[in-house]
């Protein structure tokens, strides 16, 4: 089997821990998360509300606000996938400003809230462009028009104010805005949650086309796993601040190995293919201040084993598709035993 050499790593997140508050009362919203983003790939991050996915993204982009605080870990950006890395957590505000938008752009969930209500749409593009490029006002405005055109917004809208646009237009405008300086990485925090399903589809298709055109990598955060299957190359499922499963989109969709991923998959109707019976996940997201012992999902897990309450499963490293689940470990163990038996 010939394996494609994976694209070089752009963003390397290692053992990142983010806490709200400090000292005894600190709540750990992200707990030792490690992942890599490769050049040009779409990495999906799935999880229900409170799973720490948004906190993780604000920390990775260093946009977290107090009381959120990066307690430990590393975030390294490799420009162009090169060997040399920039430690984002050690960068000064001025160094970060230079990287922002030029290399690392973001799209927020609510486009209405993300656009300055008293500035013309175009001016918000011009601001970003002129902060990084030495171009004249006129040039920057026409660049803004080009960008709007890329996402299918009529160019005369460049002089509109955000409240004069429809919800879908606003959301597409924030995506166009993220493309302004042709960044290598775009972090999108639920960019399609606030729009209807039709607009959601349009945005997803447009995103994939733009990615083909410009080759940026996307970290796409959502709670909608079936959407990620359409869009993402790899998917990372989060629960209670930890990654519980990481693998290729198709593998996670066809064969989710963590019971939580299975539950998440079965709670959304698929965008394509035959309808499945929809099932929710019983119970509610855990209280991060008082996590259950062992596996955080164990009280809600339909396949719970006795030792789940005492042993916290770790995500296996260096595998294509792995889940942080004891069931999985015994399954892996079985495969290993088998292969050992065969080789003997």
């Amino acid at each position: 089997m010939i394996k494609e050499t994976p694209s070089p790593v752009l963003l390397d997140v290692g053992e990142l821990t983010v806490e709200y508050g400090s000292g005894e009362d600190a709540v750990r919203a992200v707990d030792g998360v490690s992942f890599q983003l490769r050049r040009g790939e779409i990495l999906g991050v799935a999880g229900e509300s409170g799973s720490g996915k948004s906190t993780l993204m604000t920390a990775v982009t260093r946009l977290q606000r107090p009381p959120a605080r990066i307690a430990s870990g590393s975030v390294t950006y490799h420009p162009g996938g090169s060997g040399s890395g920039i430690d984002l957590l050690a960068s000064t505000p001025a160094e970060l400003r230079e990287l922002r938008w030029e290399s690392l752009a973001v799209v927020f969930q609510s486009a209405m809230a993300a656009l300055n209500p008293v500035m013309r749409l175009g001016a918000q593009f011009v601001d970003a462009i002129r902060a990084h490029r030495r171009v004249g006002r006129k040039e920057a405005w026409s660049r803004a028009e080009e960008l709007l055109d890329l996402v299918g917004i009529p160019t005369n809208r460049v002089r509109s104010y955000p409240h004069e646009l429809s919800g879908g237009m606003r959301q597409r405008a924030t995506i166009a805005l993220a493309l302004a300086c042709e960044p290598e990485i775009i972090v999108m925090d639920e960019p399609t949650t606030a729009v209807d399903v039709v607009m959601q589809r349009q945005i997803v298709h447009r995103l994939m086309r733009l990615r083909r055109q410009f080759g940026f990598a996307i970290v796409f955060v959502t709670h909608d796993l079936s959407l990620l299957v359409e869009l993402a190359d790899r998917i990372m499922v989060m629960y209670a601040g930890r990654i519980v499963e990481l693998g290729s989109a198709s593998a996670i969709y066809r064969d989710p190995r963590h019971p939580y991923s299975q539950g998440l998959r079965d709670s959304f109707p698929p965008l394509h293919g035959p309808l499945r019976e929809l099932r929710g996940i019983p119970g509610s997201p855990p209280d991060l201040r008082a996590l259950p012992t062992g596996c955080a999902f164990q009280p809600r897990c339909p396949k719970r084993l006795p030792e789940c309450a005492s042993t916290r499963p770790e995500l296996p490293l260096l595998v294509e598709h792995g889940a942080a689940c004891l069931l999985q470990r015994s399954a892996d163990q079985a495969t290993v035993d088998e292969s050992e038996a065969v080789s003997r």
């Binding site: 922002r100 030029e102 209500p117 601001d127 970003a128 990084h132 299918g152 104010y161 429809s166 086309r209």
Partner: protein
């Protein structure tokens, strides 16, 4: 390219809004302006009419009282008597409707009758003599305190809870709760009486001839410093607290975070995004206090014996000078209306969302 055509969106959805946006916007702005002008005309008319009705609703007969006082001061010509009846009604002044028309006619000629406190100077002249003193003193002080207070509020609210905020905000609340006249008297005592750095009272030196001369202006400025300082010191805190609170909530908005994510310089994030939005409510507050400049300086002018409208109002009340009071009330209410109209128009420029026709 094939993919492009396949995923092209149905443009028909967006088509209705594709009409020339700017043209539409201008039309909308125009009609809003016309509506506003209409509203202010009605409000101005209401103020003028109230000014006409109030003395007529008062128990007794203000006109007779005024005429009695005037005759004490000197002979009253039949012409003057007619003016007083026009302003305040009273016996044998004809039907109300006729009085109203005569009253309006007098207003347009700028005839408010003679002041009693300053008999026989016409009210118009008395009001004019105090108008600029007040507008320049209180107006400048209000603008300065708004400027400083809002700027400090922006700094405090940008990083709430940090060092500057934790000193400035409690201090402001303390100053805000101190009565104005107390601070004013302390200022007079310390800077004018004890150290004699600045004049005690008045608008300009007694021996200086009023006029557009360096000597007069210098003297007027010297006299204005202390009263202006008391106004600034006491009102700065209100602006600071207001702006700080607005700012502290606006910095949590996504558009401020996105501005930071765009890699803009902090000064640009504050001026274009955070403070730019946080200042909107302050603009309305500023308009109200500018409008009150003309009428709201009573305490300052009394403490400093300043020759402005506040002092005039005080004297008018003490002398039961109805013509002067009526003139002052009219000037005060008209200024409030004019300033509010200007502020409303500026607000429309500052906040595009208010341009919609509702």
């Amino acid at each position: 390219m094939a993919a492009q055509s396949k995923t092209a969106e149905p443009r028909t959805v967006a088509a209705p809004d594709q009409t020339p946006v700017r043209k539409g916007l201008r039309a909308v702005t125009g009609s809003v302006l016309a509506k506003r002008i209409g509203f202010y005309l009605v409000a101005g008319w209401a103020a003028i009419t109230l000014n006409f009705l109030l003395p007529r609703l008062m128990p007794g007969d203000p006109a007779s009282a005024v005429l009695l006082k005037m005759s004490e001061l000197g002979p009253v010509s039949p012409q003057r008597e007619a003016v007083i009846h026009r302003l305040f009604g009273g016996a044998n002044s004809g039907p109300l409707w006729g009085q109203y028309v005569a009253y309006l006619g007098g207003l347009f000629r700028g005839d408010f009758g003679l002041s009693i406190a300053f008999y026989p100077t016409p009210v118009t002249e008395v009001v004019r003599s105090g108008f600029w003193w007040t507008v320049i003193l209180v107006g400048t002080a209000t603008v300065i305190s708004f400027g400083i207070g809002t700027t400090l509020g922006v700094i405090a609210g940008w990083r709430p809870g940090r060092r500057f905020d934790s000193v400035a905000s409690p201090l402001s609340i303390f100053i805000h709760s101190v009565p104005y006249f107390w601070i004013a008297l302390i200022f007079v005592f310390v800077f004018a009486f004890k150290f004699g750095w600045l004049p005690l009272a008045g608008g300009a030196g007694r021996d200086v001839v009023p006029g557009f001369t360096a000597e007069f202006i210098g003297s007027a400025v010297q006299h204005a410093i202390l009263p202006a300082a008391t106004i600034v010191v006491t009102s700065i805190s209100g602006w600071l607290i207001h702006m700080r609170n607005m700012m502290a909530s606006v910095v949590n908005e996504d558009y401020v975070l996105l501005a930071q994510a765009k890699g803009l310089a902090p000064a640009r994030v504050i001026s274009g995004y955070a403070a730019r939005n946080a200042i909107l409510p302050s603009i309305s507050g500023f308009a109200v206090s500018i409008g009150m400049v003309v009428g709201g300086s009573l305490l300052t002018e009394m403490v400093f014996n300043y020759p402005g409208l506040g002092s005039l109002l005080n004297q008018a009340i003490l002398n039961l000078d109805y013509p002067l009071m009526q003139g002052l009330f009219l000037v005060i209410s008209m200024t409030v209306l004019v300033i509010n109209f200007i502020a409303d128009s500026v607000y429309v420029l500052l906040d595009p969302r208010t341009r919609e026709v509702s």
